[in-house]
Structures are given as structure tokens and as C-alpha cells.
């Protein structure tokens, strides 16, 4: 057995012909705590979508990077604010519902009140302070908050590069999703919050893995066949690194796309309407871009833990490790805003065939990833092999997109944290 002298915590071998990842990266608690400090505390992380807080005072509460935060549209500024969910007095959580609309967030412990811009606006018995420093005792905004085309991100590191720079080549793919929807998208009500007993990076790999589709998801493809779907098109396309650890798998596949690719699931009666949507895209963007928007699928990874899969529907999926072998997953469905009810119905239906914890594919992915995690504990083999396609221009069933993730992961894990 070879011993490779490389820093602990970032054990990869990348020698130009083979790419190997040490399995300790998936099982070690030291690696996990390193990730919290070096990746989740320093990367731009997805918070939510602006459509979730459309009106002034609308808020949603959720953990981001393992920390409870909430996002609220300010009543004065109209801006989307993201605050740490803790009272400036003695720490209690101030936003105590998952969503709603409010004028103030009042901490129930001692009744300090904060407005939707985070300002402290009231406390009982202020005469007990010589000088209550209202201006210094507001809620703490997360260090950096920016959005790109409606997707709101935050970063706990004040020294982070601007979001658009961070997103690098991933912007083009977010643009394709939003442009296909005529420029306005929204998150559909209803959140799938599921979990798995496996390392989070296994889900990163799986979310952009074209190689596993045919073997793991046999029952899904059988279902498509039972509907009359033509499978001869197969899964073909390319994988690409997009910079900063982001990556995409862009490909043709047999299933339909509610944005503008018909399939038998949608019914004959939907054909003219979908052809109309397709023609509209061609008129607006030209045939080439319309083809990309309508016909091609995109599994997009935005480093470290956001996946936007624009496939038989569009899912926005984020996940967070709860330990080296446990991951909390949250998935939403994204759709063009104000879509016709019958189109929306088709989209909802299409999503559930494959996606989510009750779909015909996602549970088998979870099984595969948990199975990997169990396999790691068996020992005997130290390294995963992620070399597929290193000898050619990476195709849809290759692993270049995973290597892009892992290279950035290693760079982050090897970095000294000075803050």
C-alpha cells in the first residue's frame, strides 16, 4: 500500500491521469469540523429566493451553514435582509416561526423588539439604563448578503469576494433557468425536508452524476417506458467545471421538460401549448439558445452545497452536514412566476415522478449514498476513484464536475484560517 504525504484533511491524489479521494474525507470527524470552519463559515451559501419574501415584512426562517438565520424584506428599505436569529440582549431566538409577515420581531424573553431592518425599537423599562444604546443594540446582519437574479446568498466571512465573482461560470446557467421562465421565477409553496445517513459530499457527487442514472434509476426509466416515453435518446452531453468549485452536467435525456419539451406524461392535449412555449423561446432568444433552454437538462452545482437541477422540473436543493455521516437536505421547486395553472400542474406532476423523498428516484439515491458510507467503514480500500473521463473531453457520464468540486474543496481545506 502506498503512503502519500499530503496534508491531513484534504487527502486527494490528482496526478493528471488518476484522481483519487481518500475515504477519510467522508468519515473523519476532524475533517467535518474543518469543513464547518473552512468551508461553511467562508463560502457564499444559499439562503432562499426573493419570491419567498415578496411583500415588505415577509420573512422566512431557516438554518444556513448550520446557523439559525432569517431572511426578511425590510419595510423601509424594501431590501432583503438576513439576520442572525439571536436577541442582542441575552441571546434568545427572535424569529420563532418558519414564515410569516410582521412589523416587528419581539423577543419573548424580555420583550425587546426589533423592526424588519434589524433596529432595536423597544424594550420595557428603559429608565433602568442611563443611556440605552438603541443604535448599537440592533440585530446582527450576516456579514455579507447579496442576490443574483433572485437567488439570495449570504456569507459569514466579511472578507469574501463579491457574489457575482464567486459564482463565476455558474451565472450563465442560472441565467438559462431564469431566462427560460421569461425572467421571473418563484419558489412553489411546500418544502421537502429529508435526510440521509451519509456524508454531504456524496450528495454533491450524486447530484451531478450522469454515470449512475441508468443503473441506479432503472425503475424510473421503466415507469417512463410504461407512459410511452422513447428512451432511445439516452443520456448524452457534457460536464464542465465552472470555476471556484462550481460545475455543471448539461445533457439531453428522454424525459420531458415542462418549460418546453413534450413527453407522453403531459398528455396529447398539452402538445400544442408546449409547442407554443417552444416557439416563444425561439422567437425571443433564437433557435440555439431556445434549444438549450427547452431541450437540454442541467445539473448545476454551486459550491459548496447548492444544487439547481433543471431537469424534468427545476429543483433547488441545499444540504448541510450534521456530522461526517449525516446530512440534512432541503429541496424546493422553482417555476416561472404566474405560470398557467395547467402548465404548473404538469410541472408539479413531472417533479414528483423522479424527485424528492417519495419520488421514483431520490430514495434510491439516498440508498446508494448510505451504502457508500457503510462501505467506507468496512476498510480494506482507502481511496475512491474519481478518474472517469480524464482521458477524453468529459462527457455526461464522466466525473470532471466532481473533480472540480474536490479541487476547490482541497484548496479550502488546506487554507489557513486566520479569522
Amino acid at each position: 500500500m502506498t503512503t502519500v504525504d499530503i496534508p491531513v484533511g484534504s487527502r486527494l491524489v490528482d496526478d493528471g491521469t488518476r484522481f483519487r479521494v481518500h475515504r477519510a474525507t467522508m468519515t473523519d470527524t476532524g475533517v467535518y469540523s474543518g469543513e464547518l470552519a473552512k468551508i461553511f463559515a467562508r463560502s457564499w451559501l444559499y439562503v432562499g429566493h426573493e419570491s419567498e419574501v415578496r411583500e415588505p415584512g415577509d420573512y422566512v426562517r431557516r438554518p444556513v451553514g448550520g446557523r439559525p438565520v432569517f431572511m426578511v424584506r425590510g419595510r423601509k428599505s424594501g431590501e432583503v435582509n438576513v439576520f442572525h436569529n439571536t436577541c442582542s440582549h441575552r441571546g434568545a431566538v427572535v424569529c420563532r416561526r418558519d414564515q410569516g409577515n410582521t412589523k416587528v420581531f419581539q423577543c419573548f424573553y424580555h420583550a425587546w423588539s426589533f423592526d424588519t431592518e434589524g433596529n432595536l425599537v423597544g424594550m420595557p423599562g428603559r429608565e433602568a439604563y442611563d443611556e440605552p444604546r438603541f443604535a448599537e443594540l440592533g440585530l446582527a446582519p450576516v456579514a455579507k448578503v447579496e442576490s443574483y437574479r433572485g437567488f439570495v446568498f449570504c456569507c459569514f466571512d466579511p472578507a469574501a469576494v463579491p457574489l457575482t465573482e464567486y459564482l463565476a461560470g455558474a451565472r450563465e446557467y442560472l441565467d438559462l433557468v431564469v431566462d427560460g421562465a421569461d425572467g421571473e421565477v418563484e419558489i412553489i409553496k411546500g418544502t421537502q425536508q429529508y435526510g440521509m445517513a451519509a456524508n454531504w459530499k456524496l450528495l454533491v457527487e450524486n447530484s451531478v452524476d450522469g454515470y449512475h442514472a441508468a443503473s441506479t434509476h432503472d425503475t424510473y426509466f421503466k415507469y417512463l417506458v410504461s407512459l410511452g416515453t422513447d428512451l432511445s435518446v439516452g443520456v448524452s452531453g457534457v460536464t464542465k467545471a465552472l470555476g471556484n468549485g462550481h460545475a455543471v452536467l448539461e445533457y439531453e435525456a428522454p424525459w420531458g421538460r415542462p418549460i418546453a419539451k413534450w413527453e407522453p406524461l403531459f398528455g396529447e392535449e398539452a402538445k400544442p401549448e408546449i409547442e407554443g412555449l417552444r416557439a416563444g423561446l425561439a422567437q425571443k432568444y433564437g433557435e440555439e439558445r431556445a434549444h438549450r433552454i427547452a431541450d437540454l437538462n442541467r445539473n448545476l452545482l454551486i459550491y459548496p452545497n447548492l444544487v439547481i437541477n433543471d431537469i424534468m422540473a427545476v429543483t433547488v436543493r441545499t444540504f448541510m452536514p450534521a456530522g461526517p455521516d449525516a446530512t440534512d437536505i432541503t429541496a424546493w421547486e422553482l417555476a416561472p412566476r404566474d405560470e398557467l395553472p395547467q402548465v404548473r400542474q404538469r410541472r408539479l406532476d413531472s417533479f414528483l415522478t423522479f424527485l424528492g423523498p417519495g419520488g421514483f428516484a431520490t430514495p434510491d439515491d439516498i440508498e446508494a449514498l448510505e451504502s457508500c458510507q457503510q462501505g467506507f467503514t468496512s476498510g480494506g480500500i482507502e481511496w475512491n476513484d474519481v478518474s472517469r473521463g480524464m482521458n477524453r473531453d468529459p462527457q455526461a457520464t464522466d466525473e470532471e464536475q466532481m473533480r472540480a468540486f474536490w479541487r476547490r474543496w482541497r484548496a479550502d481545506m488546506d487554507a489557513e484560517v486566520t479569522r
Partner: protein
């Protein structure tokens, strides 16, 4: 039509038996051809499948496909199958609505597999028919009480 609570309970216990014994083809025969089986998301118990994202929203065709999938050896999450136990209690009959009898019941479903246990807790909302001398299910809606599905991982089994 007089259907007693005991008759409805017997019928629901029968469904639970079929599910726990993985006799899914027989389970399907309890449902009408226009049946529907749905589970809203944990954060949207009133979820409308025409507007909202659900966890499951099956028409009868997809229920059949789900059974076919679970019967195969390639539904990896459920091969081998979990041991399940569907516990049904607090059965309440509503007033007949045309030919439909609304029934709600509380449930706990236990799922055991590979040394792990998961439990699902919630309410069933049924719409039953009495046809050709037997009760049939036209609609089953499963509303989960858990605030997130996470502790139970997924809903690869039939609840």
C-alpha cells in the same frame, strides 16, 4: 347506507395488513380506478397538489407504477423491504357526501430496516365508497405531524 365504524375499522386494518405483509397488488385492489394517494409536505399540511409541491401525489396509474417499482428488486431503497407496522386508531366517520364516506384516523407507521428504526405519525383522511358489497378507497391523504421528514429520511414505503 349504514356503514358502522367497526366495518370501517376492519377495512382499514385489512389495508394495514396488506401493506405490512407487502401484498401490494392486493392493496391496490382496495382502490377505485379513479383513486388518488397524496402526502403533502410537512410544512404545508393543507397543500393542494394542483398548486403546491407535495411529497407524493399519485393518481391510480402512478399508484400502480409505485407498486410495480416496489415489487421489483431494483427499488434499491426498499430491496430488501423494510419491516413495517401500520397502527391505526381514533377512527372517526364523517357524514356521507354523495356516494363518499369521509373517514379520518390517526396513525403511527413504524419502519425497520438494516438495524435502523423510523416512525411516521399523522392522520389519514380517506374518502370511501361502498360498491358491489364492499368498501373501496377513492382518496387517501396522509398528513404528517412531524415538523420535518428528516428523522424518517424518506417516504419510499407506502404510508
Amino acid at each position: 347506507m349504514t356503514i358502522t365504524r367497526a366495518e370501517v375499522e376492519d377495512f382499514l386494518y385489512h389495508e394495514a395488513d396488506l401493506l405490512d405483509e407487502w401484498r401490494l397488488d392486493e392493496w391496490l385492489t382496495l382502490y377505485t380506478d379513479d383513486a388518488h394517494y397524496a402526502i403533502p409536505c410537512n410544512d404545508d399540511p393543507g397543500g393542494d397538489p394542483a398548486r403546491d409541491l407535495m411529497l407524493i401525489d399519485d393518481n391510480r396509474f402512478r399508484m400502480g407504477a409505485r407498486v410495480e417499482r416496489l415489487n421489483s428488486r431494483k427499488a434499491h431503497r426498499e430491496y430488501p423491504h423494510s419491516n413495517t407496522r401500520h397502527m391505526i386508531t381514533n377512527v372517526r366517520l364523517g357524514a356521507w357526501d354523495g356516494d363518499e364516506l369521509p373517514v379520518r384516523a390517526s396513525f403511527v407507521v413504524w419502519r425497520f430496516r438494516g438495524g435502523r428504526a423510523a416512525d411516521y405519525v399523522g392522520q389519514y383522511f380517506y374518502r370511501l365508497l361502498y360498491r358491489d358489497g364492499a368498501l373501496r378507497i377513492r382518496d387517501k391523504r396522509v398528513v404528517l405531524d412531524m415538523t420535518a421528514l428528516r428523522p424518517a429520511y424518506d417516504v419510499a414505503i407506502v404510508l
